[in-house]
């Protein structure tokens, strides 16, 4: 049966034909390929390689960028794709976010012409996978204090340090690595076979199991001089990538929430207790009504943010609010849906626990929930409270 998303406020009427077509393309693919196979992928702890190929063939990797094999579609279209992918699994959306927003985008916006020509077409087609190395073992929320270093050694840059929690790291052909050169944060393109570079996979995750998470290790890693991203310096580089990826999460979280809502609705209508479907009880209806309300608000927020992005008028604070809100509501919906499913809710027969566990990562990465609170707090009061003298 064709999947129909939640659309209580007729968002459909605000989308262009192309946006709807791209959304349906992603929706059909997720329904046919991800939904039937995701539990096995999670059990095995792998991101199936066929999905990389399919995402490339569909052309969704870097789809909002212009030229170099990228489609130049609207950010709303990109958001709708993220929504569909994450309805399947946050790991699939993470793959697309990292590739498009975190690896291709910095090359596209801060790279040299040669770098764009060399990397972007192969990344758009999915032939090459990219990753984004910002977080370090000791520097998560405050990447500005990172210790990974690059040294100018005449013909080469030499990198030393380690990154952690890097999505796609082990399967990446290309890593965008942020490191300090003479104390200033710069972006470097590291290729998988560069000497002194390794990317061991991290194991033991209870969350985002169908996504590869890795360390990146640089031991006197030598890269040619033309691998520095010439057009950006400082935290602006990684932060502008994160803005784009956070935007994708705003939509993605709506997708995960919809998946939980649908499952809860179906279950509530069919599960009989005390002689009635549990959907007939007011307490359960209250939960379903809350879910619909939050999903609808989240959709409107994401759409409004997308239109602002396409018009070039969004602010980082608006992105923070939407990322924080939508992940928060999705996580709460997952928990509520689990409750409605009773004991069945813990089984992998339903998507609930998987989404719930995934969303715990999504709440933390791309700026933790509270870091976004602090961004808004600073916006409201004019006082930054990220750091404090003790």
């Amino acid at each position: 049966m064709t999947y129909e998303g939640v659309d209580f406020y007729d968002i459909e009427s605000e989308l262009t034909d192309e946006e709807k077509m791209v959304r349906d393309m992603a929706r059909d693919w997720v329904e046919a390929e991800v939904v039937p196979n995701i539990e096995q992928a999670c059990r095995d702890g792998v991101f199936p390689d066929e999905w990389r190929v399919a995402l490339g063939e569909m052309g969704v990797l870097g789809m909002a960028l212009d030229g170099y094999g990228c489609a130049g579609m609207s950010y709303v279209a990109y958001g709708l794709v993220c929504q569909e992918l994450e309805r399947g699994d946050s790991g699939v959306r993470s793959f697309a976010s990292v590739q498009g927003s975190l690896a291709m985008y910095p090359i596209h916006d801060f790279g040299s012409e040669e770098q764009k020509q060399k990397y972007l077409p192969k990344m758009a087609s999915g032939e090459w996978v990219g990753c984004f190395g910002l977080t370090e073992p000791d520097y998560g929320s405050n990447p500005g204090d990172m210790i990974t270093k690059a040294v100018d050694e005449g013909d080469d840059y030499v990198l030393n340090g380690a990154k952690m929690w890097i999505t796609n790291g082990t399967i990446a052909d290309v890593a965008i690595v942020w490191a300090k050169l003479d104390g200033v944060i710069r972006g470097f393109i590291v290729e998988k076979d560069d000497p002194g570079f390794s990317a061991p996979e991290m194991t033991g995750k209870h969350s985002l199991r169908a996504s590869v998470t890795s360390e990146l290790v640089f031991q006197d890693c030598k890269i040619p001089k033309d691998r520095i991203l010439p057009h950006v310096e400082g935290l602006k580089g990684p932060f502008s990538c994160l803005n784009n990826a956070r935007y994708g999460i705003c939509w993605g979280a709506v997708g995960a929430a919809q998946s939980c809502f649908h499952s809860a609705k179906e279950y509530a209508l069919s599960r009989i207790q005390f002689g009635n479907p549990i959907a007939a009880f007011q307490l359960v209806q209250n939960k379903l009504a809350w879910m619909l309300r939050e999903i609808t608000k989240g959709q409107l927020l994401a759409l409004s943010l997308g239109r602002k992005k396409d018009a070039g008028t969004w602010t980082p604070e608006q992105i923070s609010l939407a990322k924080m809100n939508n992940v928060d509501m999705a996580l709460e919906i997952a928990r509520m849906a689990r409750d409605i499913h009773g004991a069945n809710g813990i089984l992998d027969e339903y998507p609930i626990m998987r989404h719930m566990a995934n969303l715990e990562s999504v709440k933390t990465y791309e700026g933790t929930h509270d870091i976004h609170n602090l961004i808004l707090g600073r916006h409201i009061t004019g006082i930054q409270s990220f750091t404090r003298e003790l």
Binding site: T2, D17, M21, M25, A71, A77
Partner: protein
């Protein structure tokens, strides 16, 4: 150059809930419209044929403005010419009128190969392909389930209960397709961007008067309520009912 025409009809999604009000299907209550599934196979063959021969494809639909969607979807898969036949005065056309409209357009296209579904998924009449062929003075092969369009001489296979029949037609000809195991291709973002720029030509045609009037649409009779049996002692009764009443064992 080889020219292909493919006839695509927009129908309610096969899982859409159909409601009847005042003796007519309430089209406004149908949320999702899709390309008739059989036509999707016709389109797939057309695209395979184009890939092998460098043919050009014209997709034709008969329908109101919402039917543009099936043409845009076809454009996203690489179809270059899009034509929608319509007249705001048209309401419920009979088979003769549909065939008249489509064959008028087809005469202009001068297609070598005319592909369509064996029937539409809503009306299920199965009259369009053969009827258009008749009007154009061409032969027609119906219910094709396999094909090879890679060579200079395309061939088409019909599966019948008594075996297969493989046919090698000389164009121009009309071919109708049934559903098969073939995986239909998906659009991609680049195709969808190209479809955005695609131009849909809207034309009308002289279709004469209708011979058939719809008196009323009626929903299917309500299914009788299910019956519930409990306990092992009811097994003989259930078996008896399955055999004598439901006649399934």
């Amino acid at each position: 150059m080889v020219t292909i025409a493919v006839l695509l009809k927009q129908v309610p999604d096969t899982t859409a809930r159909i409601t009847v009000s005042d003796g007519r299907v309430d089209e406004t209550a149908i949320s999702t419209w899709v390309t008739s599934p059989y036509d999707e196979y016709a389109l797939e063959v057309a695209i395979q044929h184009k890939e092998a021969s460098g043919a050009s494809i014209t997709a034709i639909t008969l329908g109101p403005p919402r039917a543009d969607k099936v043409l845009k979807d076809a454009a996203a898969l690489g179809v270059e010419n899009l034509v929608r036949v319509w007249d705001d005065a048209w309401e419920s056309l009979d088979s003769n009128q549909v065939q008249a409209a489509l064959s008028t357009i087809l005469e202009g296209v001068e297609a070598d190969w005319i592909y369509c579904g064996k029937q539409s998924a809503d009306r299920n009449q199965g009259s369009t392909g053969p009827g258009v062929a008749e009007r154009l003075g061409m032969a027609c092969i119906v219910e094709i389930s396999d094909w090879d369009v890679t060579g200079a001489q395309p061939s088409f296979t019909r599966a019948t209960s008594s075996g297969n029949e493989r046919l090698a037609p000389t164009p121009p000809i009309v071919l109708t397709f049934t559903k098969t195991e073939t995986e239909l291709r998906r659009p991609n973002v680049r195709g969808i961007m190209a479809a955005k720029k695609a131009n849909i030509e809207v034309v009308s045609a002289d279709i004469g008067d209708a011979q058939v009037q719809v008196v009323a649409h009626n929903p299917p009779a309500q299914k009788p309520e299910g019956r519930k049996f409990e306990g092992a002692e009811s097994v003989p009764e259930v078996v008896g009912l399955l055999r004598d009443e439901a006649k399934v064992i």
